[in-house]
Symmetry: C2
Subunit: 195 residues, 2 copies
């Protein structure tokens, strides 16, 4: 390849997470050969999102307004604050239809090995958020991975030291699963958290 | 999600080949959270490529010039024309350093089930390309898949009917492989094509 425009496109596509050089080539060839309108649309939507999307002043999630629609929803229970790692996690909780409180979205998780500390996720903003006394209970719903658990620990300690009630999503056997096929750690937690 | 800019970005990313809704979300969140400069660069390179990249008048590959640098390379043997499906296949052949002829890039393969016929790949342009009598031998280097073989068959017939010598890349056992682990079809072809 000695076509600068094509090389630049492949390089730019490679910066997307999970995209290697082969995928980037395939994407570039596909767009140029079969979907130039899709390429134009992607360019415009990238520019639009970068221009319009910022963080919600209350919950830190992505939004086009100073405060997002969830935070502005007066029908929600503002005494409950659920802390999640990402907007995708928030969406998963929303889909259950069983939570009517508010959220705080960290936009990341602690990952000391990758140099992601408390300052890189929204911990400071979370402290500010709960500082006004409007929240009674903080539900820590970070993922049940090593990094998610470490993040949960740090958040829980910080919330408790401010006198807030802190809870964590229950760990246990997933609905519909057979014990024989559930991993040992999950069964052990389900045993110790039995109710 | 009720953020139009974010939804539009996720939708646009989903049009990339191999990208589902989860990957598109992850890409969008990554760009907005960690790499807004990468997003800007991707937007600009998409626009640049769509604006600048066209097909080479001689070999049909992507190029920014009317005729690509390979076709203009006077040190290459213009009596040999190697037909490949894609620029990636051409690059693979070039990496061997053992071919010094010219190329024709179909930019696709026949795929009747997907409605891709001879007109959708560069067959007409290939016929025009070999029509001037400058080519002695056409080496058909489409992939050894069902669609690649069908494409090879159609091209071979068209070239032969114009009195051109047509060859195909040899099929056989890959270098470094143990027969025990090579599939039966490959061994059968290696047997019948033995030399
Ligand atoms: Zn919000
Ligand atoms: Zn060319």
């Amino acid at each position: 390849m000695a076509e600068p425009s094509l090389d630049a496109l492949i390089e730019a596509l490679r910066r997307l997470p999970g995209v290697g050089v082969k995928s980037a080539q395939r994407m570039a060839f596909h767009l140029l050969q079969h979907d130039r309108e899709g390429a134009q649309r992607l360019a415009a939507s990238l520019q639009g999102a970068v221009k319009n999307i910022r963080h919600c002043e209350r919950c830190h999630t992505f939004t086009e307004s100073p405060v997002c629609s969830t935070c502005l929803d007066a029908t929600r229970d503002s005494r409950l604050l659920c802390v999640v790692e990402s907007p995708a996690d928030q969406a998963a909780l929303e889909r259950t239809g069983s939570y009517r409180g508010l959220y705080f979205v960290l936009m990341g998780k602690l990952s000391p090995l990758d140099g992601v500390g408390a300052r890189d996720i929204g911990l400071g903003q979370l402290l500010q958020r709960v500082g006004d006394g409007s929240v009674d209970e903080v539900i820590v719903a970070t993922n049940f991975t090593a990094e998610g658990e470490a993040t949960a620990h740090v958040i829980s300690e910080a919330m408790k030291s401010r006198g807030l009630k802190v809870t964590r999503l229950a760990r246990g056997v997933p609905i519909g699963s057979e014990l024989e096929y559930v991993d040992l750690g999950t069964i052990a937690h389900a045993l110790s958290d039995r109710r």
